[in-house]
Amino acid sequence: MEVFIEILPGLMFLTLIAGLFSSLPVGFVLMGTTLIFGALALGLGEMRFAQVTLMPNRIFGGIIENPVLVAAPMFIFMGLVMERTRIAEDLLISLQKVLRVVPGGLALAVTLMGTILAAATGIIGASVVMLTVLALPTMLARGYAPSLAAGTVASAGTLGILIPPSVMLVFMGDLLTLNLAKLFVAAFVPGLCLAGIYLVYIVVQSILRPDSAPKAPPMSPDERAGILRESAVALALPLLIIVAVLGSIVGGFATPTEASGVGAFAALLLGLLRGRLSWRTLSGAMDGSVRTISMLFFIFVGATAFAYVFRHIGGEHFIVETARSFAISDWGLLAMMMIMVFIMGFFFDWIEITLIVLPIFAPIVQIMDLGDHVTRSDLIYWFAVLVAVNLQTSFLTPPFGFALFFLKGAAEGAVTMAQVYRGVIPFVLLQVAILGLLIWQPWIVLSLPEAVLR
């Protein structure tokens, strides 16, 4: 019996993982696991009934009465308004035109689009699908090598989880009790590093092998007319939104929460100014937002209940002990967590990993000490950014990579899986290099917040 109680948290975690593969909604699996193990905990006397009845307090305190999380619905709304008013689509078309003289121009346009519109969807699947549908057919029609086209779309589509304003960072910040503004700023440089190194790779590849990324034919005179003004508008609008959001955070105007409202307002205003914001469009954006928001918070409710029971049956102790028994040093702990996140990224979206796994890891991160390498107060920010970059790598890594399946699905047979795998490998290697660099040189993550938020 004693042994059974000892391993109860481990069993609970394994039950959850096994249940997730049933293809039932993730929230259902969380609720089911919580019920079974909550009943066991009650039966074994590990939990008292009075404690069970406190569940609504947890949900209320963690999810509703939480000023930081207000940013999540607002960023999602902002993204959907930008998508439905076709601000995103215009951006890609203009970038394509502007960059047509540059080697690999179209691929560069896709990467820049992924960078600028990082916030527009927030969910990996959605942003990869959007880029695939918008850009892949054009790239193939222009004679791009299918592998390069696929690699570009997949890697650009996953940038969104890292580059602020990112919904994932909002949740990470909340669950690890971080200062959200600082986390946003910390993720900014690594995100730009990744985007930058992608751009360099695409240009080099296009110069070395011009047939894999042919230049677009020169424009006809009537095409040229008015293009400058049109592109300027299409480029300036989304940039304006990003500047409004990031500017108000960094400039101290607003907290990230308020910045999200400013962003949503800016997106609505721009849609209106371009004459694209009909009632139909707006109600489509509201409907889509409500669905995405509910999906996220439903898992959050399930994960809150799960974590509540998990903690009461000694989950935290179990995790820390298990981690300690596997890894001797704190560097070993870090390596182990990174490997686990990487493997889980094969199967789960950031939503499950951030909401379910991160709270479980949090106690390990709290006790970690890397001496002079990273100060204790900064360590958790550095860790959060590492997890984000790591997840992004994982989503791209064959054969399981999450983003790859979405790309293949949305491409409707235009590329083979082998081409996708081949195309994405250089990007994965670049990602791993950056991840290594960030681990080796923490200042890349930590110096900007230091400089800006003083």
């Binding site: 997730l20 593969f21 049933s22 293809s23 039932l24 909604p25 993730v26 929230g27 259902f28 609720m31 089911g32 919580t34 019920l35 069970v52 009845t53 406190l54 569940m55 609504p56 307090n57 949900i59 209320f60 999810i63 509703i64 009465e65 939480n66 000023p67 999380l69 207000v70 999540a72 619905p73 607002m74 709304f77 105007f253 607003a254 929460t257 308020e258 999200s260 409202g261 400013v262 949503a264 307002f265 609505l268 109600s283 509201m286 409907d287 937002s289 409500v290 669905r291 995405t292 928001i293 509910s294 999906m295 439903f298 898992i299 959050f300 409710v301 199967f347 979206d349 939503i351 499950e352």
Partner: protein
Amino acid sequence: MPLTLRIAQACAWPCHLVARACGLLLLVLTGVIMYDVIGRRFFNTGSFVVSDLEWHLHGAIAMLCFGYAYLRDAHVRIDIFVQRMSHRFRLHLEFWAILLFVLPFLALLFWFGWDFAERAYVRNEGPVGGMGLPNRWIIKSVVPLSAVLMAFGVVSVLLRIWVALSRPDLLLSPFETDTAHSDKRQSSESSV
């Protein structure tokens, strides 16, 4: 249309209504935040009431549309093994998961949530420190209300699964699709 489907549709109705309302609340929240930011920066009007209102609205939007999202099959699934399961097996799985896990969980959430909100009402709970929105029982009622609305959506799907299993000729998928939804809306608009 069999009675079962009609009941399912009736159950779905409150979910749809609340989801539309929450969509509008997104606009309201945008407005409130703008008022807060501009007011505090330029007119020194920042107040606890406004910042309380922000998370009140957020709480309602975040918690009240679970049932609607389920009706539209918007909840995330890890579907890498889906191809290996038959359609009927998946329907059975969903049916029993709802009956054994989801509805009991929601029942508990409603029960405890009701006590939670009632306690706030009886004690006349207000904001911490006395500044901000009064009557905390209103926002605390979101917890039991969320369970009720989710239950409506879940029961609606449950009934449709029942029909899909017993009369596959009538209904293949228990979930509402985009087209079916907009058709319905159009027809209801034209009938008005």
